[in-house]
């Protein structure tokens, strides 16, 4: 009942539990550090590489969360979403659209395609309930075959595609598809100030829309909250325009990339202010203890301190953040959270926990699963667009084939399981997985003395992580099904020994 006192009495036990719950993450962190020590390379290089990869890959990983919620497990079928994005790119480049407009056109074109693919995938998943993951995997290979047929024989062969520069021998696209000069960095090159302006406009509009909607329905409104939101939005909007005029801020925030030093300086300042404000509010409400607010402030302080310490500053300086891509990642995260809290999201959760319960509660199980798959496929298509515009050139036939593998490995590294995944796990997972992805080959090359081994190491890490975590998960759930009574007993025993009077949340 009183969790605080229990935790206080048994801080050792709770620490143990925390360590056990995060064993995958801890293992990976240790592994990453070991590899960094062995590789003995420039940390700035690793940091900048990891942040680039983070901006590139995270959206694809975030596409996995909703199907997981609906009980579909890890959706290896996001490969077909990536395929949709690539097909859209072929035509947009062919028509000669460039820059952000070309990028947006790609997004608009690939969405209906991804919806159709997602619908078909959902239908298939409904036919193979309980074996979705292997189905998704095999379907990925199957779709690869169809896509290859399309790219190598149908484009230019059946469908007219008059572009000798892109075609290989009269029909079929060339093996490498170059995006330089058309949509490479289309999204990444948007400056931070533009992103701020867009976000603030979005914030103002959404606040207005919500308040109008509430007014129509006659719901009670929190006018103070709406006011704060509107004022903040307007202030940010004004700042984004004024900053353009001032040379210093324009230099800091108006460029195509945001240097991490600046971001850390101002972000850290913001975090400190936010933390102190939160602390003061807590105090004014009469609550005791430091709470989370102090942690936030300390984090901000650390971030800022880094800008003064020379070696850290050097690392900071090498990291260049594409503001728009990171903003899209935030929007994806917010979207996932929002869906989870809607009625649809609740239905998905019910379906994910038990299909029979969902059916008896009047939820259309098959339809809910199809919707989840569609959302995932569309998000994957957009994610692949972000990936490709950052990469700049891609392998026409094979680029999409490993999308599912890397995304699933990343989210599992973050501590997600087949049944439970959230944004936090996705973000942590991408960081850890890609750090390992960068440093493990370096370390292996150092040890073995031959760089040819790095590809094997990468593939082994990806497949190995998935194999181990799937096996561990299946082991747990198989054991749980076999003797639920015994499980409950052990859980109770654990609860008694740890002195907790209520069962831990994770068991529910």
């Amino acid at each position: 009942m009183n969790k605080n006192s229990v935790a206080g009495n048994n801080s050792g036990e709770s620490l143990k539990r925390a360590l056990f719950d995060n064993k995958v993450i801890i293992m990976l962190v240790v592994l990453c550090f070991a590899c960094i020590l062995i590789a003995d390379t420039n940390v700035s290089y690793i940091a900048s590489e990891v942040f680039t990869r983070f901006g590139r890959n995270t959206c694809l990983v975030l596409a996995l969360i909703i199907p997981c919620l609906a009980g579909l497990g890890m959706n290896f079928g996001i490969v077909i979403g990536a395929t949709a994005a690539q097909i859209a790119i072929f035509w947009v480049v062919h028509w000669g659209f460039t820059g952000i407009f070309g990028f947006l056109l790609c997004v608009v074109l690939c969405t209906p395609l991804a919806l159709v693919f997602g619908y078909l995938l959902g239908k298939l998943y409904n036919k193979t309930k309980g074996a979705e993951m292997i189905t998704g995997l095999v379907l990925g290979f199957f779709a690869d075959g169809l896509y290859r047929l399309f790219v190598l024989y149908i484009i230019g062969g059946v469908i007219p595609y008059d572009d000798p520069n892109l075609l290989d021998r009269g029909f079929g696209l060339r093996n490498a598809f170059d995006l330089t000069g058309n949509i490479k960095y289309a999204l990444d090159d948007i400056s931070f100030l533009t992103v701020l302006a867009l976000v603030s406009i979005l914030m103002i509009l959404s606040t207005l829309a919500v308040s109008l909607h509430d007014k129509k329905k006659g719901n009670p409104m929190d006018s103070k909250k709406i006011g704060i939101r509107l004022v903040t939005g307007a202030a940010v909007l004004v700042f984004s325009f004024v900053a353009r005029m001032i040379p210093i801020t324009n230099q800091l925030f108006g460029g195509t990339r945001l240097i991490f030093t600046d971001a850390a300086l101002f972000g850290g300042l913001g975090l400190i202010l936010y933390g102190i404000m939160g602390f003061l509010i807590r105090r004014s409400k009469g609550e005791k203890g430091p709470g989370k607010a102090i942690g936030t402030a300390v984090l901000g302080g650390l971030l800022m301190a880094g800008t003064v310490i020379a070696p850290v500053r050097e690392i900071y300086q090498s990291i260049q953040l594409p503001a728009a891509a990171y903003a899209v990642i935030c929007i994806f995260c917010m979207f996932n959270n929002w869906i989870t809290n809607t009625r649809l999201g609740q239905n998905m959760r019910t379906v994910g926990q038990s299909r029979s319960v969902a059916t008896s509660a009047g939820i259309n199980v098959d339809k809910t699963r199809i919707i989840a798959t569609c959302i995932s496929t569309v998000l994957a298509a957009w994610g692949q667009m972000i990936f490709l515009q950052n990469l700049g050139t891609f392998n026409t036939v094979q680029q999409q084939s490993n999308v599912g593998l890397y995304a699933v490995a990343a989210i599992l590294v973050g501590g997600a399981t087949v049944q439970k995944a959230n944004n936090k796990q996705a973000v942590i997972g991408v960081f850890l997985f890609h750090t390992l992805f960068v440093v493990a080959p370096l370390a292996a090359t150092k040890v073995v003395g031959d760089s040819a081994i790095s590809e094997y190491i990468r593939m082994f890490i990806s497949y190995g992580i998935i194999a181990v975590s799937l096996a561990m998960h299946a082991w747990k759930s198989a054991g749980g099904n076999k003797n639920k009574g015994a499980d409950a007993q052990t859980a109770a025993a654990v609860a008694v020994t740890s002195g907790a009077s209520d069962l831990p949340d994770s068991s529910s």
């Binding site: 189905t135 995997l137 299909r355 073995v448 998935i466 082991w475 759930s477 198989a478």
Partner: protein, 365 residues
Amino acid sequence: MTKEKFKKAIDVIGLPRLIVFCFFIAIIITAYVNGINVPSFFSSTIKYWGMWCVLVLAMIPTIKCGIGPNFGISLGIVCGILGTLLAIEFEITALVDGMVPGLGPWVAMLFAMVISAAVAWLVGIGYGKLLNLVKGSEMTVTTYIGYSVIYLMCIVWFRAPFSSGEIIWNLGGKGVRNSVSMESSFGNLLNDAFGFYIGGESGIYIPTGLILFCLLMCLVVHLYFKSKTGLAIAASGSNPTFARASGINVDKMRVKGIAMSTMLGAVGIVVYNQGFGFLQAYGAPLQMGFLCVASVLIGGATTTKATILHVIIGTFLYQGLIIFTPPVSNELLAGTDISDTMRQIIQNGVILYALAKAKGGSSHE
């Protein structure tokens, strides 16, 4: 009425099987019409049938013991590669040939098979114990274990301490080279044994030794599943509850089935390598598991039911399709090879169909 009958007939035969069969017939007819040398391609089909037969046969034990097709056959495959490499490393062919001329290759092959089967048996038992822990999601887990093992072994091959000049890289140093020639050990041994042509030198070549060996392995598997243990394995696969009630240790039987499958995979890759003439260590076996699964499914198996006849028919149809498509597509589409794409679509389409069929009944859980 007739429509219903028709539907039922298709259900019995299976849609993908029907499509693949018709496709195969159509391709052979097209080949004839276009003046392609059909007998020589038939010879290759028979040769490749023999090379793949034992590998595909490895699917039978796992399907019978209720795990479904063994996507993780790569585990057996790497054991077989290890055995073959050891046989080359110890130069068994030359060693035995020095004592009894002509016997060398046979002893080397036997050595490779026995060593790899023994290793595979041990690996298979561990693997089976693992799969007993993950009941219900075996197919996903086996696929990923299969993949990760291949890449793990890639790292091992890269620095394996072999010393034979046949195995290590040309420039010297350590590690296994990309493709190791088997000419000096037992390459093409079974293919050439008692081989003869039907209809002269340009006719169909029958690799008698290979066919006999495959049939022998089929017979062994058949007899095994007629034995007491084999029946127990089949029973624990088809109805675990009933099997448990009649005193069968289901988990133990599953382990036995998986170990047997892994062993067959190890022997199968030895047979494959001798027929291919080269041993390919690194990424080559990556998709072999899928190919084997698709073969047995094309032959008429489902994820819960498979017979030796399914293996024989399925391997023949699939290999025939793979071998006949390139020349025909070359002829029809003016110098393009569409066969790899076709293979990918057919192979995975067949597996998808089987998955959809297998789980279709449980949609109202």
